[in-house]
């Protein structure tokens, strides 16, 4: 038993030491999410522990996750989940007891199931409260993440070269000489686009649509009772996908189900000119245009937020309808 007690004391000492040292960890190491999942969890935790009073909350998938935060209203929170479901963010708003003035729900992939384990983990009794006053237990303060990110930044800085920007759509492929990848990015994006077309080509089953509307009924109803306003919006996609069975089924189901409650449904009138990286995800320029347009819509709905910092020209999307 001596081993156990000594180990527990060591753990406690390390936790206390890390809590004391955390404020001195450079900002680049703190808050830098290591993976897509970490980014998702970090967004949700920051909302729960720091931004619960945000007047505008956006929930969506990786499509809306690309909206640049600096172009959204300053006090808007984007809970969109890369590789996840809009219902995850919605569930978090409901369970947290928050009552934002406006909740914008991305409707493209609403039949995706929400991440129950992540949501349950966020609200685990006791742990959730402890995480509230002990930031060292939050996703964006993981010690190995901080150490590795700081090391990588230092080495890259020392090497004097830009970092490789990402797997998809990034502009930072720093190739050297005449070396070319086995497949050109166009080939790969073509293959990914084919996969996306296949996904969008499948109409959700009636059971999936019923489950989706059932969950939306419950959560949207709760938010409306709290005095929130709720609106659905579609993220623009490649023109060939706009009338795909998946999008059409989601759109028609939501319009049919919620039209009697007068919930706005914002659609991209024409996505012409907007570039995507793979057919579904907007590139950074297009995402910026949609973010500005959403910010204007929020203003038009009479939601008072902090001054909109991005400015920029008006954009014809999204158009309101329904």
């Amino acid at each position: 038993m001596r081993l156990i007690w000594t180990s527990l004391v060591t753990t406690a000492a390390l936790l206390v030491g890390y809590a004391i040292a955390l404020p001195w960890v450079p900002a680049a190491g703190r808050g830098a999410a290591e993976t897509g999942h970490a980014t998702n969890v970090t967004r949700l935790q920051r909302y729960i522990y720091e931004r619960l009073d945000a007047p505008v909350v956006i929930v969506g998938t990786s499509l809306a996750a690309r909206l640049p935060p600096e172009l959204l209203p300053a006090d808007a929170v984007n809970l969109s989940q890369s590789g996840g479901s809009a219902l995850t963010g919605l569930r978090v708003i409901v369970r947290s007891g928050a009552a934002p003035k406006l909740v914008l729900i991305e409707s493209n992939l609403l039949t995706h199931p929400f991440d129950r384990s992540s949501v349950d983990a966020l609200f685990t009794p006791v742990v959730s409260q402890v995480r509230g006053w002990a930031p060292i237990l939050r996703e964006d303060n993981r010690p190995i993440s901080a150490a590795v990110i700081l090391t990588a930044i230092s080495v890259e800085y020392g090497l004097g070269r830009l970092r490789y920007e990402g797997w998809l759509g990034g502009s930072g492929w720093s190739t050297s000489g005449e070396v070319r990848p086995a497949s050109s990015p166009e080939d790969v994006f073509g293959a990914i686009f084919a996969q996306i077309e296949e996904t969008y080509g499948q109409r959700p089953s009636d059971r999936e649509l019923r489950e989706m509307t059932g969950q939306l009924d419950e959560m949207v109803g709760t938010l409306l009772r709290r005095g929130c306003r709720v609106a659905f919006f579609e993220m623009p996609v490649h023109p060939s996908l706009i009338s795909s069975p998946l999008l059409r089924a989601n759109r028609e189901t939501i319009l049919a189900h919620f039209s009697d409650r007068g919930l706005p449904y914002l659609t991209p009138g024409s996505a012409g000119g907007l570039q995507t990286t793979d057919g579904a995800h907007l590139d950074s320029q297009a995402a910026a245009m949609v973010a500005r347009a959403l910010a204007r819509v929020v203003g038009a709905m009479g939601i008072v937020t902090q001054p909109f910092p991005g400015g920029g020209a008006g954009v014809p999307i999204p158009e309101t309808a329904g």
Binding site: T6, T10, E34, R142, A182, V188, I192
Partner: protein
């Protein structure tokens, strides 16, 4: 656990564990509990007749029981593969076969049923020391149910042999728990799973994405290395958690991993990796086939048969069989060369041998991650063609950081002078540090890799 050790309930310890095991199994897919119960019933009845049947019929009953176990395994595990391979997955037959669900842990509990039947037959035929509790049918049924359904090892092993486990079914006492051993196994197991494997999986999953074709070659190699560490940490972690849990209830499960990545030969690797499966295949397949006692050619054939079936046991895809075949060929070549060449026992030679085995094993894991052969070939092509692209240092550093504990763990064992044992208090600090990282740096929870098998 409190109820389990209460003195008035001591006679109900086995029943408590059985109920807990059924609840544990049913938590995922409740209706599949019926399959587990049926499988147990088949083994209870057939092993009873093997023990009590007339001598000429014992082998028949045993063969019937083994056949039923294998039939259940084949139907649930391989039907989708046959549906896709021979019926194109379309049409009523193809769709039916493809739609059959894979019950969690079926590969493990059917194998344990086989050990029960074979061991029971051996008891009767060879008058071995091990004896099943056949006092009366009810007790036999309870003990057999506990043996097959015992929750720590039910869904992913270690595969326990009847002659190891059944003799342990006796009343247990709280005072007999080795708390330090349980703590060591549980902390190490959870660390390997939650900190190493769960974090690595979020960096290595790109291997299975189309975009690997444009990733830098260095990244691809590092990710493959990371996957090798991940699959070890995931499975070794689960095994240690199972061993620790079982110890809390007074049962000793066999060691499943013994630092496999320091192996100097492929035969040594299979004595260190998934030991419970290797020993099962050796004891219940390789030896009955004749092992190495029937001449050189037959030995090589036996090796290939065992490794091909062992590979196929891992998953319902032809690539798993190829993976087993690769290891079978490696074992056969090693055995053949070993007859003519004896390598000197020098540190440099040993290090090169370890490196060679590790590289081969790691490359073969690609067939686990990419069961589609064409993708595996594309991956190899991308490694070569993209080697000139600058690596994503952050990703490489993350994989390296999460691999360090596994590498250090192996090196610590390799040195043969365990620092943790020699320096007082150092072991406690190490376990304390692991606990700290479990609390602050666990990855996103993911299913155990071997659950799919």
């Amino acid at each position: 656990m409190v109820a389990y050790y209460l003195p008035p309930l001591r006679d109900w310890q086995r029943h408590t564990l059985i109920v807990a095991s059924f609840v544990f199994y049913a938590a995922n897919q409740p209706w599949l509990l019926l399959l587990l119960v049926c499988s147990i019933a088949v083994n209870v009845v057939t092993s009873h007749f093997v023990y009590h049947g007339s001598p000429p019929r014992r082998t028949t009953y045993a063969a019937l029981g083994v056949g039923l176990n294998l039939a259940v395994l084949a139907f649930f595990k391989y039907s989708p593969l046959f549906g896709k391979s021979f019926f194109s997955g379309t049409g009523s037959v193809g769709e039916f076969l493809v739609s059959i669900p894979l019950p969690i842990g079926i590969s493990f509990f059917t194998f344990q049923g086989i050990t029960l039947l074979v061991d029971t037959l051996r008891v009767q035929e060879e008058r071995a020391e091990f004896a099943l509790p056949h006092g009366f049918f009810g007790r036999h049924a309870v003990n057999t149910t506990l043996f097959i359904a015992f929750f720590p090892q039910l869904v992913a092993g270690p595969i326990v042999k009847a002659h190891d486990f059944v003799p342990q079914i006796v009343p247990k006492f709280f005072r007999d728990i080795d708390w330090d051993a349980c703590f060591r196994a549980l902390v190490t197991g959870y660390f390997l799973k939650m900190v190493v494997a769960d974090n690595l999986k979020d960096h290595t999953f790109w291997i299975a994405r189309q975009s690997f074709k444009i990733a830098p070659g260095t990244d691809l190699l590092v990710m493959l290395f990371g996957y090798s560490i991940q699959i070890f940490a995931d499975f070794a972690g689960y095994s240690l958690i199972a061993i620790g849990c079982a110890s809390l209830f007074g049962y000793r499960l066999p060691q499943n991993f013994n630092f496999p990545y320091i192996s100097r030969s492929f035969s040594e690797f299979w004595r260190r990796w998934h030991i419970s499966l290797s020993s099962f295949l050796r004891e219940y397949l390789y030896f009955p086939l004749g092992g190495n006692r029937r001449g050189g050619v037959r030995t090589y054939v036996n090796l290939m048969v065992v490794m091909l079936l062992g590979g196929f046991w891992h998953g319902a895809a032809w690539s798993y069989m190829v993976w087993g075949g690769c290891h079978g060929v490696a074992l056969a070549v090693e055995r053949f060369c070993g007859r003519y060449v004896t390598l000197p026992d020098l540190p440099l030679v040993n290090a090169l041998r370890m490196l060679g085995v590790f590289v081969f094993v790691t490359a073969a894991w690609l067939l686990f991650k990419l069961p589609d052969f064409s993708q595996a070939v594309d991956f190899a092509r991308a490694v070569e063609a993209n080697m000139g692209l600058p690596p994503d240092l952050q990703r490489c550093f993350f994989i390296a950081a999460y691999s360090v504990p596994v590498i250090l763990w192996h090196l610590h064992h390799l040195w043969g002078k365990p620092v943790l044992a020699r320096v007082p208090g150092l072991a406690a600090v190490a376990y304390g540090f692991m606990l700290f990282l479990i609390v602050t740096n666990s990855g996103a929870p993911g299913a155990f890799v071997y659950f799919q098998f």
